[in-house]
Amino acid sequence: MNALMPTLDGLGLRARAAQLRGRIIDMCHAASSAHLGSSLSCADVLTAAYWHVLKVDPAHPTDPLRDRFILSKGHAAMAIYAALAMRGFFPEAELATYNQDGGRLAEHPPANQLPGVEAATGSLGHGLPLAAGIALAGRIQGRDYRVFALLSDGENNEGSVWEAAMFAAGQRLENLCAIIDYNKWQATDRSNDVLALAPLADKWRAFGWDAVELDGHDVEALARVMQKVPNGSGKPVAIVAHTVKGKGVSFMEDDNNWHYRAPTAAEVALARAELGLS
């Protein structure tokens, strides 16, 4: 904890992101579960968070001073399970129990069961209010941790997101950062066709946040912006991360069938080859 800021190792982070994507694809295939595209689109955010930004210690997962990461888009559970296991919060072997009878790794993250999982999410629009409360607790208790919440773009449909946005801006929760995985798809349609989402960054700005737009697959850019929270603006920070659903595998990219589809063994092999994994 409170270690010096790690040196940004772009090459290392990109290799981690590819490994993470490989884990996710393996899990999805083994469990035949949904939400592969959504998990792949945020893999670079999770890589920046868990391998560069977050002050967390897998040996002390409930340290009161730790940074918090709330996966508000809980349907990307595979991504956070794989990241936490690879970081040593629980054994990597446990990933094989994903979606199996009797395990801890459900299709959405559970409450109070898995080290490193800060909150049970899956119903959209819950994570940011929770994150705001945790950020506020830090202020009340004089602890200077940061709180990051990863939201999906479709999640921005939920009114509770904007309730929390106004609350956090009103309370000047500058230790809070919302990252929006803007992959342009939600479950059944283009996210800008379902509701009027655009201009998304301007919406966050209008709600009193310091909003930044960036390429959500540029893991170094993500790491740099996230690392600067709180950034001195006195405002909570919104990172509108432009991403591609299914990123990393050519035949999955921007194809919303992969919101629900799981890959065959042959498709897994192709995907792993594209990712440069053995």
């Binding site: 009161p64 409450a111 109070n112 800060e118 909150a119 049970a120 119903s123 629009g125 819950h126 940011l128 209010p129 929770l130 994150a131 705001a132 409360g133 945790i134 950020a135 506020l136 607790a137 830090g138 009340i140 208790q141 009114g159 509770s160 309730e163 929390a164 106004m166 609350f167 009103g170 309370q171």
Partner: protein, 311 residues
């Protein structure tokens, strides 16, 4: 009851640094003393109850003990999923405090009535559901939830309710009903702000020669099953009284327990609100008269029941 709540939470806030008060833009001046004493632990969360409940959960996850406060439908049904998934599933020690139980805000119309909240809240795992019968029970309930480590719901009346107890209740326990009036002929089990009415009904019944026990079930969940077992064994007629729908409330909870645990035994009569919105204008007393939730009506119906046993 709301003034007693403000007073009690202010006193507790002075001695317990974990206590945080979140208000849904309600209670003009009600919490001024709390705000003056603990400005860093009072938050007007605006008219945004989903966020207020999520924020409270985040605070509770980090060792604080938040209370959320607004009018009953807004801090229960409006944000029910946040209560279920955030507060209860995470076992976060948040206390949800609702003012305006049942028809206490009758005059404000059905948007402000709350005759379904007990049903919703008690169906949620991990929730403790409290409906104190007077301001003394309320003060004790607030202290009791702070001393435990679980999610809780406290359902308040409004203001100016008659006091039933003579003073503080140092022996108050969550889940332990309090016998308020002793009697051997019939037993009235009351929850929440109907307690003064139940006590008045017992007085009327006594005048007619029916000795009535009145028990305050300030806790609907967990139910005091020892008390129920004794009552349904000793009495041939037991009645529940609540300002809540007959679907899913306290009377339902008692009926469920009787059905699951007793064969035969006492007859159960349930007083409560019918399965309909109360659409007429008018104040609390009027609404209670219309719905038969008055001492007179309760006494009358019980006298009839005693003289005409059910077939």
């Amino acid at each position: 009851m709301r003034n007693a709540f403000a007073d009690e939470v202010t006193k507790l806030g002075m001695v317990d640094p974990r206590l945080v008060l979140l208000s849904g833009d309600i209670g003009n001046k009600l919490f001024d003393r709390f705000k003056a004493a603990q400005p860093e632990r009072f938050f007007n969360c605006g008219v945004a109850e989903q966020n207020m409940t999520g924020v409270a959960t985040g605070l509770a996850m980090n060792g604080l003990r938040p209370f959320t406060y607004t009018i009953a439908p807004f801090c229960t049904t409006r944000c029910l999923e946040q209560i279920r998934t955030d507060v209860a599933y995470h076992e976060a020690p948040v206390t949800i405090v609702a003012v305006g139980a049942g028809l206490a805000y009758a005059g404000l119309g059905p948007t402000h009535h709350a005759c379904e909240d007990i049903a919703f809240l008690r169906a949620i795992p991990n929730m403790v559901v409290l409906a104190p019968g007077d301001a003394w029970e309320l003060r004790a309930a607030v202290r009791a939830v702070l001393a435990q480590d679980r999610p809780a719901y406290i359902r308040l009346g409004k203001k100016g309710e008659p006091l039933v107890h003579g003073g503080p209740l140092p022996d108050f326990q969550i889940g332990k009903a309090i016998t308020v009036v002793e009697g051997l002929d019939v037993c009235l089990l009351s929850t929440g702000n109907m307690l003064p009415e139940a006590v008045a009904a017992a007085s009327l019944l006594r005048q007619k020669g029916v000795a009535t026990r009145v028990v305050s079930f300030h806790t609907v969940k967990p139910l005091d099953t020892a008390c129920l077992r004794e009552a349904f064994t000793r009495f041939s007629l037991v009645a529940t009284v609540e300002e809540h729908s007959l679907i899913g409330g306290f009377g339902s909870a008692v009926a469920e327990w009787v059905s699951d645990h007793l064969a035969g035994g006492a007859r159960l009569i349930r007083f409560g609100a019918p399965d309909q919105f109360f659409k007429k204008s008018g104040e609390h007393e009027y609404a209670r008269r219309e719905l038969g939730l008055t001492a007179e009506h309760i006494a009358e119906r019980l006298v009839r029941a005693i003289s005409q046993p059910a077939a």
